[in-house]
């Protein structure tokens, strides 16, 4: 299952890239991510309580950042396993300067297994889109909050 899109943020590309690779910010952006502990460079152990509505599951797994080319490109690999099955996601982020801000072109591929694959197929696409939307909305908030990058004259 694939999703793709572009998300624009009114912030410099370096700032966006920084945020997108900051484990603390990522933890808040990855939906339901309760902990993200570093185990190696760009590799983290994660606990996620993910789901939509009343359908929720706890997943344990890894988040890995790969192919990092600051500030234009990286790949995030998330895999988690829990009672409802497993989730494996790959997200490719390409950052481009646009209209004084940054356009994040993303391509995500999500693979699921277990119960969620067996019974959830009619909702998986919508769920993935919802989780992606949550990710970027939180990212907006995070970047908006940390405004040290803003020139003093720019209104907040």
């Amino acid at each position: 299952m694939k999703i793709a899109g572009t998300h624009e943020i009114q912030a410099p590309r370096e700032v966006v890239y920084q945020a997108l690779t900051d484990p603390q910010i990522l933890q808040r952006c990855i939906p339901g991510c309760e902990s993200l502990e570093k185990t190696a460079d760009n590799t983290y152990v994660a606990t996620m309580k993910a789901g939509v509505g009343s359908v929720k599951g706890t997943f344990k797994g890894n988040v890995r950042l790969e192919d990092m080319q600051a500030p234009i490109h990286y790949r995030m690999i998330v895999d988690g396993k829990g009672a409802p099955g497993f989730v494996k996601g790959t997200g490719i982020f390409n950052l481009e300067e646009r209209n004084g801000g940054t356009a994040i072109a993303y391509e995500g591929e999500m693979k699921v297994g277990g119960v969620i694959a067996g019974v959830g197929q009619r909702m998986i696409e919508a769920a993935a889109k919802m989780l992606a939307a949550h990710f970027f909305k939180t990212l907006d908030d995070e970047i908006g909050r940390g405004d040290s990058w803003r020139p003093a004259s720019t209104p907040p």
Partner: protein, 797 residues
């Protein structure tokens, strides 16, 4: 004399089923029963690096946890009975050992004091998987790439070529050749009752009883005895009520052996009832062939040859008959036609999916679909009427027995008669007129025909992996009640009724005096089972001949009791009578029989003195009391017969389907359905109608709705009935059914079998109708299921 055979006798099984008083496996409750839950693979293909069962094993209420390592040396592999040249047979352990090869592959079993604890504990087992590339696409798998079984070096289980005649010459001599690729999608049988097993070991007696929802109690007993290593005569298999099988319970499953073995380990009853989710994952699937058919024809529509190259998706392992199913396709590729040369080249291919095996029709629906689609494709190619193409290639009624280029001898038939009757019944001419009118109005209406032949009454033992005969014991009890024991244990077909009809007529007794017993290996003589539309033709015949044997003995006793020569005793309507000539010689008329006062608990004495006629039930009593029987005759009145059929039977018929397609959405609506089936002599028309109706419904399922879908990782994404679309009552049209009746010469009942006719004959009729409706768009073929989107895309383009 026929009082019951041929009549619409209501099923004697139904009251208990309707009232909820029947006993399925899960209705059998034994004290101290332990319950089993399985951990099943969530990957299609993965190495099992480690399994941590500690937390589960330490949970309150958990009695034992078993993994593949614990049982690999204790329980033998799941058996495959199909014997094909150079067949690769993977070692199929009851629990996965080092690798999981399909989603749903059992990895561990938890045994607990109740099913809730067992299920909770299953979640506490942690399996460390290393995911491996899944082999999903059957055509790619045949070419190479990732392997399901590394040691085999490729994914090819076997290759087989079958057929007779010079196919190359036939193609060369044809005016035209046409070829078409066809997909027979993977289906799930979805019996209403999922599988279930209850096993109870008696440590003192060293006996094991296994209750299982199966179609083959005796074959299962033999196989389980071998797998578990218990003497076969210490193992009893009981098949209680079975809520459908459709072939999926014509098998020996890992869970059946494992439960038996666990009960022996723990000395307690253990039970497992399959959930629907497990049922979709780990009960066999059906169909799953991708093939290309090439047909040669002359310009007048005569078929000169047919070649079918097919890859069959076998799944990861062989279940009981997995590799044999596609070979049945090869047998039936002549369909209802004279085709001088036929060749099938089949490649059986391993994939990381559940095994395919017999699902209602088992290889024959694929053949019929190929042949009946071909008839329409040829008609379109030659711009001929599909009806005429069929007629041109039918063997005539006087050409039977008819030898096909697939090596079969069709027993009897009049294919044109069934076709004509179906055309009449459907009002075919006016249907074509209505279609022309609809087309003129821009509407999409299609008419599809399918003239099928199927192979039933499986079968002569020479052609079967484990015996093709069937057994019956018929006993008349001292009280005159008739007990029929059949080896053909039913799973919904109604043999308790139809076999009672046969017995009651043949014995001249009231049908209510007959009880049919089946499905208990400790009571019933060895038998084969109910599948392959064989129960009546083979098992019913065994009942008939057992009765005839019994009657020979009864006649001897009757003669002795009536003090006459056996040759002067005649049987009619349940009575043995002394023929007039000898009666006159004896000079007696029938006296009034005084009712004897029997002491309490003693059997009533037969009052036979001086009688000139005796009912068979009276003779039964005398045979048990054994005071008035000939000195050279065994007491008791029972007979057993094992009937070995000399050939298969070949039912046939024509189905006609009319569809309308919603141009806006592509949705197909079946507006008329006519079925004329010829299943030989009919024992109970109501049961035949039921079989035909049910079969057509499953065909509608295949044609329009059903498909087991594995995604590119081998995940089973149609894992519940939320996504796997079985047709519901509201999606099914009214059926107009009729019959022609061409008796089979193969058995004395003249019956052919009807259990699979619907799923064999109907699917192509529906698809032909849809393709016909879409003919204005130049459509020649469409693969099933014909979901609305697929059709909308054609209309749109």
């Amino acid at each position: 004399m026929s009082k019951y055979v041929g009549e619409r006798i209501k099923r004697t099984e139904d009251p208990r089923l309707i009232k909820g008083l029947a006993h399925y496996v899960d209705d059998i409750r034994l004290p101290d029963t332990l319950h089993v839950a399985f951990v099943r693979s969530i990957y299609a293909h993965a190495r099992i690096k480690a399994i941590d069962t500690t937390e589960a094993a330490n949970s309150a209420g958990v009695v034992a946890v078993y993994t593949g390592k614990d049982v690999a040396e204790k329980v033998g592999p799941v058996p495959c009975a199909a014997a094909l040249p150079d067949l690769k047979v993977p070692d199929y352990r009851v629990l996965a050992t080092d690798k999981a090869l399909f989603v749903g592959h059992p990895i561990a079993a938890v045994v607990a004091t109740d099913r809730y604890v067992a299920r909770d504990a299953a979640d506490l087992i942690s399996v460390d998987y290393e995911e491996l590339p899944a082999v999903v696409d059957v055509e790619q798998a045949a070419q190479g790439g990732a392997l399901v079984h590394e040691s085999f070096g490729d994914n090819i289980a076997y290759k087989l070529t079958s057929g007779e005649g010079d196919i190359e010459a036939a193609m060369k001599s044809a005016d035209r050749t046409v070829s078409q690729k066809m997909v027979h999608q993977r289906l799930a049988p979805i019996a209403m009752e999922p599988r279930g097993v209850l096993a109870r070991y008696f440590p003192g007696e060293e006996e094991l009883t296994v209750w299982s929802s199966t179609q083959i109690p005796h074959l299962l007993r033999t196989q389980l005895a071998l797998m578990i290593g218990i003497p076969e005569n210490k193992l009893r298999v009981i098949t209680p009520e079975v809520g459908g099988g459709f072939g999926s319970k014509l098998n020996v499953y890992a869970e059946e052996a494992l439960l038996g073995w666990i009960s022996m380990q723990l000395g307690k009853p253990v039970k497992w009832i399959e959930s629907r989710r497990e049922n979709v994952q780990a009960t066999i699937h059906g169909r799953a062939q991708v093939g290309t058919v090439e047909v040669g024809c002359r310009n007048d529509g005569t078929i000169t040859g047919l070649r079918y190259d097919v890859v069959a998706d076998l799944g990861a392992y062989h279940q009981l008959l997995t590799p044999a199913i596609p070979t049945l396709t090869g047998l039936m590729l002549s369909g209802a036609y004279k085709i001088p040369a036929i060749q099938m080249n089949v490649t059986g291919v391993f994939t990381n999916k559940m095994s395919t095996d017999a699902y209602r029709g088992a290889g024959r629906p694929e053949a019929t679909y190929v042949v009946e689609r071909v008839m329409d494709i040829v008609a379109a190619e030659l711009k001929m009427d599909p009806v005429e193409v069929r007629r041109r290639n039918f063997p005539k009624a006087n050409e039977f027995p008819f030898h096909t280029a697939t090596g079969l001898d069709y027993d009897s038939g009049d294919y044109e008669a069934a076709l004509d009757k179906a055309l009449d019944l459907s009002g075919f001419k006016s249907l074509r007129a209505a279609q022309a009118k609809a087309r003129a109005e821009g509407k999409l209406m299609g008419i599809g025909i399918s003239s099928y032949v199927e192979i039933c009454a499986l079968g002569p033992s020479q052609a079967m992996p484990a015996g093709g005969w069937e057994s019956a014991t018929v006993r008349i009890e001292p009280t005159g009640k008739v007990t029929v024991m059949t080896g053909a244990s039913p799973h919904g077909q109604g043999q308790e009724t139809s076999f009672a009809q046969i017995a009651a007529d043949e014995l001249g007794v009231d049908i209510n005096d007959v009880t049919v017993i089946h499905g208990d290996t400790a009571i019933v003589q060895y038998g084969i089972g109910t599948f392959g539309s064989r129960a009546t033709a083979v098992g019913g015949t065994a009942v008939l001949i057992a009765i005839q044997k019994l009657k020979e003995k009864a006649a001897k006793i009757a003669a002795h009791m009536m003090q006459c020569d056996a040759s002067s005793v005649a049987f009619e309507a349940g009575k043995y009578s002394r023929q007039a000539a000898t009666a006159a010689a004896a000079g007696t008329s029938e006296p009034v029989v005084p009712v004897g006062e029997a002491p309490a608990g003693a059997l009533p004495e037969p009052q036979t003195n001086g009688r000139t006629s005796l009912t068979i039930q009276e003779i039964a009593l005398a045979a048990h009391i054994a005071k008035e029987i000939p000195p050279d005759t065994e007491p008791g009145l029972s007979a057993t017969y094992f009937f070995e059929p000399k050939n298969f039977t070949f039912p046939f018929g024509t189905h006609i389907c009319v569809v309308e397609i919603d141009k806006d959405t592509g949705a197909v609506k079946i507006v008329k359905y006519v079925a004329v089936d010829d299943c030989g002599k009919v024992i109970n028309p109501m049961l035949v109608d039921g079989q035909v109706h049910g079969g057509i419904v499953q065909s509608i399922g295949q044609a329009l709705y059903e498909e087991v879908v594995y995604d590119d990782q081998g995940q089973l994404v149609t894992g519940e009935l939320m996504d796997y679309a079985l047709p519901k009552a509201s999606q099914v049209p009214w059926f107009e059914t009729d019959r022609t009746e061409t008796p089979s010469p193969v058995n004395p009942l003249g019956v052919k079998g009807v259990g699979e006719a619907g799923t064999i004959g109907a699917t192509p009729a529906i698809v032909n109708a849809v393709v016909d409706a879409l003919a204005p768009y130049g459509v020649k073929h469409l693969d099933m299921p014909l979901r609305p989107e697929k059709i909308w895309r054609i209309i749109k383009s």
